[in-house]
Symmetry: C2
Subunit: 339 residues, 2 copies
DNA sequence: GATTGGCACTCAGGATCCCCGAGTGCCAAT
DNA sequence: ATTGGCACTCGGGGATCCTGAGTGCCAATC
């Protein structure tokens, strides 16, 4: 009972602070939320909450502000993901449906997510590892420059250029193309390295240098590059907040330019319906101590293929951002899977 | 003679303002640059320059600040593009050389350009129109989902997904693939639409709906999408300036998220060695009245394929940015062409 | 005619000061 | 446990002042 009210107070503080962005005091709290007790009582609770580290005051004679720990508690209490309205659902669906290729799907998703949440949106490209090789192509751009293209059954296309020391004959290229297609066509990406064992040796000794290079490229495409790409959008939303906020714009923008950092932010693709929330210091990325990340995995069919999420200040609206991220992930999965 | 000094004064004002970001007064001018005259004389010149619209004062009792027109004059006077040091050249070359595919080349170029200039960098993907079809691929991802992939001899790869109403037989797909490759393989992109005339009719009536869709996709890839992509980087540089500057970060970031705007900013690929500079209002993009763009075209072999450039505040260092843009364009061209 | 020293004038921005009011902690009463 | 009362704190906004950089103009000089 007493504990219950404490939680209610914390929730109220987070609510108010998220909307007003200003430290919230005891009096304002009882006015805006009908807590049924007097400000003095609230003050006692607040003192307790502060002792426990959930809230803090910027200075004496100011209201309280949630700490990272406070947000964490708040988020953990958030059980029910509030569903979107049917209008929103329809908007999402129709917006994503018009995409013409995978790049377009990703671009639209990023845009959608950033517009809906008004935060910075991140969408990771579908991982190759769980999907299989739909097609592999080896073409020469010039006599010494070869392009290797891998097409996944997700519609993802990856390529890699390689320059050879000596000019390569077109017939050799055709030969390699045909034989490599035979070996890895239709196979799963994870199996590619294994399948290529002994592949090089099956060629004439003169061509081995070239074939080795091609095989290496294919392997890199299949393994290394497999989930390196993250699309980002809505960075302008970082400036939206009413000015004097703790976010260091420069450092955040810098961090967001690094693919590695983005991947780190999205974290491991979380399983099932669960939505990952990392608050402030919880994501240990340099320069992003004042930002939170809300992310989740999305599936193609019934296997998770990658993550997506949003990045914003710790005082974001967790409830609706979580709902939006969840919904977009679902619809993206549906778009990728259907037909 | 008198005119000469006026120009010198304007140049000096721009120089000082670019470095200090503060209105520059007559006294400071004679001290920092050896103009050989007294502050009073400079004041007369400044008054004249103000009459002519080249400079302005933020308020009485403040120094002068260049107007867009002033920058324009300054840039037009800038005849010699100062060459990079050999160390810089080597750095650029080796940095770009390690790229593994076209995406990587673009990404590295953007990163390089933004780091060198410390501005926001834009790099447009090589236009397809002037290059030719190296390879065309039609593969089915599922029975009703087809992927069309076009590979250009620049190494650029574009794809497009299409969903068909009815399931398509694999043999039909193979047939279309073979025949379309025959028709447009090795041909120039600009000629593709013409080459495809009558293509659909050569197929069995049952398959025409599908073939039409494929042909349409190919045409879109060859024509519409041809130069739609621009890579951007270094947005964090926008925040670098010493705080209270006239740039509206939000609107600039918003504008930079629109591909269309980016293309507009880069403008027509300018011919030859010329470097395009658009100052402030000269680029008529909403929200970017306080930014300038320095851009130029880059070539593959001897034909221009696209543009690249930087975006920054009007008080940027035009001289060195122009030099950097020029140099990077040259090296990018070289990387794309050689071998 | 161009240049220059002199001089009065302007005014943004920093420093200082003051005060208000939101907010707190504590205590005694209920 | 809750509440009303009360003294205390202190950030931030407003008003005021002042300084110094910078200007325009003019008369003197080259």
């Amino acid at each position: 009972m007493l504990e219950d009210r404490r939680l209610a107070v914390l929730r109220a503080i987070v609510d108010d602070y998220v909307t007003t962005q200003e430290p919230v005091g005891s009096k304002a709290l009882v006015e805006r939320h009908n807590l049924g007790v007097s400000p003095a009582t609230i003050r006692n609770d607040m003192a307790a909450l502060e002792d426990e580290g959930y809230i803090t005051q910027p200075h004496t004679s100011a209201g309280r502000v949630p700490t990272d720990l406070g947000y964490r508690m708040f988020v953990d209490q958030l059980s029910t993901v509030k569903p979107l309205t049917s209008a929103e659902r329809r908007a999402i669906q129709s917006f994503l449906e018009d995409a013409v290729d995978l790049d377009d799907v990703m671009a639209r998703t990023v845009r959608l997510l950033s517009q809906v949440t008004r935060e910075v949106a991140l969408v990771q490209y579908p991982t190759l590892s769980r999907s299989s090789v739909r097609h592999v192509e080896v073409v020469s751009l010039s006599t010494t420059r070869i392009l290797v293209v891998l097409i996944a059954d997700t519609g993802r296309v990856d390529q890699r250029m390689l320059d050879t020391a000596a000019p390569i004959d077109e017939t050799v290229v055709a030969d390699v193309r045909a034989r490599i297609a035979l070996v890895i066509g239709g196979r799963r990406f994870v199996d590619v390295p294994e399948l290529l064992v002994g592949f090089v040796e099956s060629f004439d000794i003169h061509d081995r240098a070239f074939v080795t290079a091609v095989a290496a490229s294919v392997m890199e495409l299949a393994v290394e590059k497999s989930d390196q790409r993250v699309m980002i959008g809505g960075t302008a939303n970082l400036t939206r907040r009413g000015d004097g906020l703790p976010i260091n714009l420069q450092s955040v923008l810098e961090a967001l330019e690094e693919q590695v950092v983005l991947l780190k932010l999205l974290g491991e693709t979380s399983a099932g319906d669960s939505i990952l929330v990392r608050i402030g210091h919880e994501n240990s990325v340099q320069g992003m101590e004042a930002t939170s990340v809300v992310s989740t995995g999305y599936a193609r069919g019934d296997e998770l293929v990658a993550s997506l999420g949003v990045v914003g200040p710790t005082h974001m609206d967790y409830a609706s951002n979580m709902a939006s991220v969840h919904a977009v992930a679902q619809y993206l999965g549906r778009i990728l899977s259907d037909q």
